[in-house]
């Protein structure tokens, strides 16, 4: 593909400027970055506005900007489930997470597993929660890097460089971006990410605004855009008497994803970094403004269909390498002048840095608090604690880079799909126990194991190609998001076993939290 010097120049200038912000941030609201809660949670100091930028950058990732329209481009209406998903997750945020914030603040919890450990005094359950978080997040980081790869390719940056001493090195732009990401995360922690998130939003919003005004105008209006889409893909096929059909799987995908989202370690990190529970409540009302942008971005997939980018010879290579994920970059290149394509691509690339960094920070905190300090080195100093977290976050990113460079991106997508199913299984231990401790820790562990096994088996059975598994109940086929059906099993096992265990042993269980901690 031809590279445009203007697009590359604008892109590089913006990227360097924004990454520079990440390093400056170490001095912003100066604090002792040798404390885990300072490095990993920004000192729990972010007010409503910063938290809005940070959580927005955290939840609406670069990969979302590429993958959601790509799904619309290929599959049609199904891809739009991201919109109801990102609406119904906010009542969940509003209801549960102020409680979690309060109890975390009171007891100095940095991760969800910290809370579970304190609530139930069970090291095993806390370890299960921590490991689930780490394993579910790793492929997510890899997908962010994969998103950057698409952008670099669309820009026409030369991927293979011949360097003295090293010979031919592949994927050089990605490796450079990785070094930038790793360095600023290590140096400034969550503070750096918060500043970068602000810059990223300016770029993304500019792009979205321009795209939804300019592109439909050039294509002849929204009616023309929708007319270009295959009518069979424009709506979901209706269910029948013996099969609830795609309308049901659409709803189950939206609900399951919404339940899973805030259980991810990186969402937890973003939430716990807020300066008060009011910040979380206000953001449950303010964050949906990103969903408006997301719904417009989703429609870019249809605009790409209407523009006919897939049959354009100049994009054949991109589609061959990245499949439908190339639809949005191709649309941007086709519709906008080169300099603006540079702005848009910088927005997407920076949009990958923000969540990738928060995810790595969150995994670093999880490992340090719930594995290293808990099992390996119980009397480590705060400084050792934050150093281990920094090193682990670096290793997580290296793992993700290895994933993208050495394995096929399709593995990362499949693993991320599994990750969503897995993380959902931590819901009973983390969210339900915010309200009640009637559930027994052993029962929670058994429910978790049952949900993990069932969810993995369903994904396996589908060949990791899809996540909606058809259940057969009373002669009716129910195509349901595996995360959701596994969660139902998980809760059923947990409740039944809790009843049994509580009836057998009536001994009081340790709980370092009290009712006042939650309000």
């Amino acid at each position: 593909m031809n590279s445009s010097p203007v697009a590359v120049g604008v892109f590089l200038a913006l990227f360097v400027f924004v990454a520079g912000l990440g390093f400056v941030a170490a001095r912003w609201r100066k604090a002792d970055l040798h404390q885990l809660s300072e490095w990993g949670l920004g000192g729990r100091s972010f007010g409503t506005l910063i938290a809005w930028f940070l959580l927005g950058g955290d939840i609406y990732t670069a990969y979302t900007f590429i993958a959601v329209p790509a799904l619309m481009f290929g599959a049609g209406a199904t891809g739009f489930f991201a919109v109801p998903y990102t609406i119904i997750m906010y009542p969940i945020l509003f209801l549960f997470f102020p409680r979690l914030w309060s109890v975390a603040r009171r007891h100095g919890y940095v991760t969800a597993a910290d809370f579970v450990r304190g609530r139930f005094g069970s090291r095993g359950l806390a370890l299960a929660i921590a490991l689930t978080g780490i394993v579910a997040t790793m492929p997510y980081i890899a997908l962010q890097l994969a998103g950057m790869q698409v952008v670099f390719s669309a820009l026409g940056l030369p991927s293979d460089w011949t360097l003295p001493l090293f010979g031919i090195v592949h994927n050089v732009p990605l490796i450079i971006a990785f070094v930038v990401l790793a360095a600023y995360t290590y140096a400034s922690g969550l503070r750096g990410t918060a500043l970068i998130a602000i810059a990223k939003d300016l770029l993304i919003y500019t792009t979205v605004l321009a795209a939804v005004i300019v592109i439909p105008a050039e294509l002849g209006g929204y009616a023309k855009v929708f007319a270009a889409v295959d009518p069979k893909k424009l709506l979901l096929p209706s269910g029948t008497m013996d099969n609830l059909g795609p309308t049901f799987s659409y709803a189950s995908l939206a609900l399951g994803s919404a339940l899973a989202l805030f259980l991810y370690p990186h969402s937890m990190t973003g939430i716990l970094s807020s300066s008060s529970r009011h910040v979380i409540r206000r953001n449950a009302i303010l964050l949906p403004s990103y969903s408006i942008a997301l719904s417009l971005i989703a429609l870019l997939g249809y605009m790409a269909v209407a523009a006919g980018v897939k049959s354009m010879p100049e994009f054949a290579g991109g589609f061959k390498d990245f499949g439908n994920n190339f639809a949005v970059p191709a649309l941007i290149l086709h519709m906008f002048p080169a300099w603006f394509a540079g702005v848009a691509f910088a927005g997407i690339a920076v949009g990958a840095l923000v969540p990738a960094s928060i995810m790595a920070i969150a995994c670093g905190s999880l490992f340090t608090r719930n594995v290293y300090k808990e099992f390996l080195h119980p009397d480590c100093t705060p400084k050792q604690e934050s150093t281990v977290a920094k090193v682990v976050s670096l290793l997580m990113k290296l793992g993700a880079l290895f994933f993208v460079l050495e394995l096929q991106t399709s593995y990362a997508i499949q693993l991320q799909l599994l990750g969503g199913i897995w993380i959902c299984q931590t819901l009973p231990a983390v969210l339900i126990s915010l309200y009640t401790r009637v559930l027994h820790p052993m029962a929670l562990l058994a429910g978790w194991a049952a949900g993990m096994a069932a969810g993995t088996a369903m994904a396996w059975d589908l060949g990791f190609k899809s996540s909606t598994y058809p259940l057969h109940l009373l002669g009716v086929t129910i195509p349901c998001y595996a995360a959701l059906s596994a969660l139902v099993l998980n809760i059923a096992v947990t409740v039944v076993l809790s009843l049994v265990l509580n009836a057998m042993w009536n001994a009081p269980r340790p709980d370092e939290t009290v009712a006042e901690d939650y309000v």
Binding site: A77, F80, V83, P84, T86, I87, I88, Y90, P91, F94, L95, G221, Y222, A223, K224, V225, F226, L234, L235, L236, S238, G239, T247, F248, Y250, A251, A254, L255, H278, R281, R282, A284, I285, L286, P288, S289, S291, I292, L294, S295, L296, L299, Y435, T436, R437, V438, A515, Y518
Partner: protein
């Protein structure tokens, strides 16, 4: 979801919390909006209805927010 009557959740259930259920009801009953007409500016109902809910969903939280903030005083 919120009305767990355990001793820890000592507050009584208040009907204002029902607002939080509204987005779930209106978005998860997919057959109710899985249609083309009425279109708006050429956008089929399926799409503009859900896009409208990005705003309505946020508004549905506002009464509960006001209730909780008011209770603090």
């Amino acid at each position: 979801m919120s009305s767990s009557p355990k001793p820890e959740a000592s507050r009584k259930f208040h009907p204002v919390y029902l607002w939080l259920l509204l987005p779930f009801l209106c978005l998860l009953w997919v057959p109710s909006y899985n249609r083309i007409d009425p279109a708006l500016f050429g956008i089929p109902f399926f799409y503009w209805y859900q896009m409208l809910w990005t705003v309505l969903g946020a508004l549905a939280i506002v009464p509960v927010y006001l209730h909780e903030e008011g209770r603090k005083k």
